[in-house]
Amino acid sequence: VKEHDFKKCDQAGFCKRNRAFADHVVANTAWESPYNILADSASFKDGQLQATILKTVNDAGETVRLPITVSFLESGTARVTVDEEKRQKGEIELRGDSKARKQRYNEAEQWVIVGGLTLDKEAKVDYQDDTQITVQYGPESKFEASIKFAPFSIDFKRDGDTHIKLNDKGLLNMEHWRPRIDASPAPEKQEGEDNSSSETESAETTAAQVPEAYPGEDQNTWWEESFGGNTDSKPRGPESVALDISFVGYDHIYGIPSHTGPLSLRQTRGGEGNFQEPYRMYNADVFEYILDSPMTLYGSIPFLQAHRKDSSVGIFWLNAAETWVDITKEKESKNPLALGIGSKTSTSTHWISEAGLLDVFVFLGPTPQDLIRKYSELTGTTAMPQEFSLGYHQCRWNYVSDEDVKDVDRKMDKFNIPYDVIWLDIEYTDDKKYFTWDGHSFADPIGMGKQLESHGRQLVAIIDPHIKNVDGYKVSEELKSQKFAVNNKDGEIFEGWCWPGSSHWVDAFNAAARKWWATLFKYARFEGSMRNTWIWNDMNEPSVFNGPETTMPKDNLHYGNWEHRDIHNLNGLTFHNATFEALKSREAGEFRRPFVLTRSFFAGSQRLGAMWTGDNQAAWDHLEGSIPMVLSQNIAGFPFSGADVGGFFGNPEKELLTRWYQAGAFYPFFRAHAHIDSRRREPYLAGEPYTTIIAAALRLRYSLLPSWYTAFRQAYLTNEPVIKPMFYTHPNEEAGFAIDDQFFVGNTGLLAKPVTQKDKETVDIWIPDNEVYYDYFTYDIIPSNKGKTVTLDAPLSKIPLLMQGGHIFARRDRPRRSSTLMKWDDYTLVVTVGKDGKTAEGDLYVDDGDSYEFEKGQYIYRKFILDGDAKTISSVDGEDRKKVKEGDWMKKMHQVTVDKIIIVGAPASWDKQEVTVESEGETWTATLEYTPAGKGRAAFAVVKKVGARIGADWKVSFA
């Protein structure tokens, strides 16, 4: 990484100011926050508290009015919103004839929040006087918000205990509007910067500006700021919002992706093993990013959860501007004499955003599942994906021609390697003009698309938000003539550099621009695209090669004259959204689930498609680092995620490539990708034994697709993670809280721990409970104890994968060329008998994988149950489906049956030849093959040719 290309906290004025402020507060025990609620302004009605905070801004006692709203939502979530009256009413003046909006950005909600805002009518004031107000809310009124007026702070309690405190440390800071008064001498320039302050208002005015947050605050960064040769005009002056949020008694916090580093976030104020810099969220195209760093990456989700044994709480900081989060942990002891006994750790976070409202949602849990569910009620759940998109994606920058694509397609078949999607990076275009094809190398895109289609395969083509600035390019001409592009600070079309050279950027905040954007994807307009063509949105941070920190100037103006600084972190989401909407219908009568991969994202992007962790490297540590990154996405409500298999930059050695495929088979989004300068590395090129091992990893993924799809259904319903870290599945096992290299898949009980180290032939898996665990490939019983690690052999050919007892999951065992060609295959069910020797359960969701018919009930959802005495295995409707009239797809599914049931850990009483199957009013017998336990291997039984329809109720009886 070119670290100097990206800001450190002290190079971002507002971050530097707020950190200095925090230092000042910590150093001055007598410090008192100057924010007080005006007691008689507080009114509570219909689940909402309205009041005014007065911020005292100088010794003379002058104040600024900050309206505050505390909303209590039906879901049990509380929301605290603070605005600034003067800006809200537009009673301020901007410098330099700026056309920017005067308000603090208040439209993030329009992009991010899709529900869950209904106020809790049951919430009630429990206590109120001149100094405070206490509101009870939430399920059974177990939650309580205790709002202190002077200084302003809020304690959030559950069952009487405080879990979250706002402004407990007094770091609340809303930089109110002030006119610029230039003292003489002129403000110092920032070190090493070519600060050109042309704004010379009255230079003679010597009246000292009111010190802002605390006496002696550094004012150098209030106005223009420069970085890397770019100057930000900052027409609204300082306007940051910051707040300390403390998690009382919580040692682990997770979330705020995307960052490298551990899942359980580190402290950021230095010290051994800690970061020096705050976690930063400012979506950026970070070239060759480094591992183990709080640096910003391509996307951000300001959702953070704190966890301890028996409890999870969290917050969601709804702000789209550049945001930094400092994290500190402190041990506190209830009884100072107890010397550590009963002491616990609390975690404090300091949130610092450059602009916008203070808008924070508070979740009181108590489980990790509750947190994600509540967060997702607000921001939406994972889109039901195109089924093919859970298959394997073969990508490279670049497949050089349509012939090349067809050749790779043929070779994959030749080597019996399944794949669903082949990708085209930017070189397919005519001179980087999106929606066009290079006439020489891609002369026949339709012929290419048809070959892929013949085996149920798909093509993904890249379309980026930068539009080449060139005459005669229709897209560019339309963009300009209709004014759908982002403007510069003077309100003229912004011109910057990206892949095509001089470019303009589509402003997807503009509804008319999005409507136009959708027209570009129509089959009739985007010639060469077909029904199996899908889209990849890259560079949507946006990446601007000659912009500050490789992105847009912050004083650029978007639709509605919001500054880029206001909306930056939302930019990727809006562009992704525009493409997503465009793909739903590309011709009259079509209505299908889009597939759009995005690089940049924000809270809410999970509704739109998949993300990947950007431009990683072909190195072992990047493979290792990918797992906490993907897990972090999963627990932050955006599970459809993966890292580039093989590593983008460089050439992976074959062992690394193989291990990466084995790990990638467990990324929710499974794509191999490679840089243009890297050597070719399609799986069939690896040679033996690697090609066979890679093919086996791919087939493992494919055979488990029914279970992956079922996990995505769950993510669609509740936004549950698709792969789950230990703290999430076992929230009471403290030893698992920091483990971020192993995970469960959906609700299958499959526990995977990919090998991520060179020459490693064993792995240590931490066992979280007392259940029985079986080896996936051998049915060996793993000799395990709760809370202990077991060592498993993992030669190159083996993926460490365990089956937790007590589950039933579905597979499709027949290898096929693509997932589409598995559509009509019969199922295999795997039952892992729990340690009680009697019970197991699981589920399966199936739909047409492509349309929105599932919203009308056109799907199959089964629950499978091994009953308490291991006498029957039955399949029942997981939901009430009686009223659903079967459509075309459901009728065709009548052909599809349960082929086999494999029961691992089968009781000895099953040592018999036949079982009875009952379904749809008929009864027949099926063969049962019982294999007694052998050297370390569990006994298992196979019911052959069950023959019952997958969509029907059935029962297999062993008694």
Binding site: V400, T550, I676, A695, R699, S703, K823, T931
Partner: protein, 546 residues
């Protein structure tokens, strides 16, 4: 195959399925199934033999995730199936086995299974018609066309072989004549050497008698002349080298100025930025720097052969002077012509004064060359003979090397050497010059790029679908010509090209691809790559016919 054989069973396996009541797994005779279990779309035999007509046993395969499977050879699903695949009879065309995983997947694999029997279960409503009649007919037509084309190609090849062997014969006869000439030259050389030695001995006697001759200065002068000649040669070479380097600097400056104009300044590549910055500084420095005043004319003057009118007149030393003292008399020979008259007059007067005062003796001898014209002639003749010998020897070595070189089977590429084929691909024209190099020529005038120099012939296995136009590599061993060490890539390795050859009626560059940066692949059709089919007596017998 009779009607009673279950679907998908190939003729050689029909016997295992003859029993109408039961079926015995082919490699597990202990497992006996009801015949209703054959092709019931559920796998029962550990070797998969009960499902010849469905995909139910397709997971019995080393590529599928391993699971325990009692009864199989390995005890797991990582095993071998008893059957090679699903048999499509393809009546009217050619029967074939197709992979089990293609069976009942909802796709009509007509190109493999033209009778459509692979989709007998009609999953998802798939119906595959029998297309064997039309596919078979088209196949036979194409086969016939190919056969004819092959014959024509083979004819072409035979012509090439003839040409090649004629070329070889020429080289061989050249070798023979060179050998003869060299033998003659050796005799001649020996004679000349002898003659020279005699002449020289005789002359040396004369020289020795001459007083004052062969003094130290004479030797020094001889050495000095030699040295000067060497230096002059070196300077000449250095000058050539300088001119070459200047050319290259010009080229590089050209490339850099193009880079500076055309690079994307915001591409985030520090390397490029630094390079451009460096070039700008260099260019700025260059425009202010004083051009060095070494004018070529001066150098050329120095390079001129020595003689009476230019440089040092060695003759003055060698032929007229022989005494050490002569240095004084001929001091002026060392001087530049411009000052000669002045010094000459001064020295003359000094000389006169010295003689007059008895300090210096009068000029002791006149004439008496160090080497007689006779010796010189003898030596020149000898050297000429030696030079010719060297030339011929090296010519012989070249020709012999050429004879030993691998020109492919039947020496066939000898006939193509020096010829080129090219093709237009996009913005480039690509060219293959046989046994020489591959080149990428820009149509936008960015110059030519060497994509590799010929190294060697290798053989690789091609495995590609046949193309309708026949312009493809097909399947089987193919000659691959390796071209390596071409022009280096920006940030990358040197370019190389693999040229895959397939039989065709004429030389044609079919396709060029760059599968990864700077690694190219050409597919080329040529009669040289054909197998010889037909005409008995033709082919490798070329030698004997001559």
């Amino acid at each position: 195959a009779t009607e009673s054989v279950p679907r998908g069973v190939g003729p050689e396996f029909a016997k295992f399925y003859a029993n109408k009541e039961t079926f015995t797994c082919i490699s597990n005779p202990s497992i006996v199934l009801k015949s209703s279990q054959v092709n019931d779309n559920s796998c029962d035999c550990p070797d998969g033999s009960d499902e010849p007509g469905t995909s139910a046993c397709s997971h019995l395969d080393p590529l599928s995730p391993e699971q325990p499977l009692p009864g199989s050879v390995t005890g797991t699903t990582n095993t071998t199936r008893a059957l090679p695949g699903f048999w499509c009879e393809n009546k009217g065309h050619i029967g074939a086995y197709i992979p089990f995983m293609y069976v009942n997947d909802g796709v009509c694999d007509h190109e493999l299974c033209c009778d459509g029997t692979d989709e007998a279960l009609h999953v998802g409503g798939t119906k595959c018609e029998n297309r064997c009649a039309s596919i078979g007919k088209e196949y036979r037509r194409l086969q016939e066309e190919r056969r004819q084309s092959k014959e024509r190609s083979a004819k072409q090849r035979r012509t090439l072989v003839k040409e090649a062997s004629e070329l070889r014969r020429r080289v061989e006869s050249k070798v023979a004549s060179l050998k003869e000439e060299i033998a003659n030259l050796e005799v001649q050389k020996a004679e000349l050497q002898k003659k020279y030695d005699e002449v020289e001995r005789a002359e040396r006697g004369k020289v020795v008698k001459a007083p004052g001759e062969g003094g130290k200065l004479g030797v020094l002068v001889g050495l000095a002349k030699k040295r000067v000649d060497e230096l002059r040669d070196t300077l000449d070479k250095v000058l050539d080298q300088r001119d070459d380097l200047q050319d290259r600097v010009d080229q590089l400056e050209d490339i850099l100025s193009k880079l500076k104009e055309e690079y994307n300044p915001n591409f985030n590549d520090e390397g490029v930025k630094a390079a451009v910055q460096g070039y700008e500084n260099y260019a700025a420095g260059k425009s202010t720097e004083k051009k060095s005043e070494v004018v070529d004319a001066d150098v050329l003057e120095v390079l001129k052969e020595d003689g009476p009118d230019s440089g040092i007149n060695w003759a003055e030393f060698q032929e007229e002077e022989s005494s050490d003292a002569d240095i004084v008399y001929n001091l002026e020979a060392y001087l530049p012509p411009s000052v000669r008259p002045f010094i000459h007059s001064k020295i003359s007067s000094l000389k006169v004064w010295l003689i007059e005062n008895g300090v210096l003796a009068d000029n002791p001898t006149t004439g008496g060359p160090t080497e007689s014209k006779l010796v010189k002639a003898a030596r020149d003749a000898l050297e000429a003979a030696r030079a010719e010998h060297t030339t011929k020897t090296s010519q012989l070595a070249d020709e012999e090397r050429d004879l030993a070189k691998d020109y492919g089977p039947d020496d066939i590429f000898r006939a193509l050497k020096g010829q080129c084929v090219s093709a237009d691909v996009g913005e480039y024209e690509y060219e293959l010059c046989w046994f020489d190099r591959t080149t990428q020529k820009s149509k936008k005038g960015h110059g030519n790029t060497n994509m590799g120099n010929f190294e060697r012939i290798t053989t690789e296995i091609a495995d590609e679908e046949d193309r309708v136009d026949g312009k493809g590599l097909g399947k089987g061993p193919r000659m691959v010509l390796r071209f390596e060490n071409g022009q280096g890539c920006w940030n990358g390795p040197q370019r190389r090209t693999d040229v895959w050859l397939a039989c065709a009626e004429k030389d044609e560059l079919w396709r060029v691809s760059e599968s990864e940066k700077c690694v190219y692949r050409m597919e080329v059709g040529t009669p040289a790559a054909c197998e010889d089919v037909g005409e008995p007596g033709a082919g490798t017998k070329g030698h004997d016919e001559l």
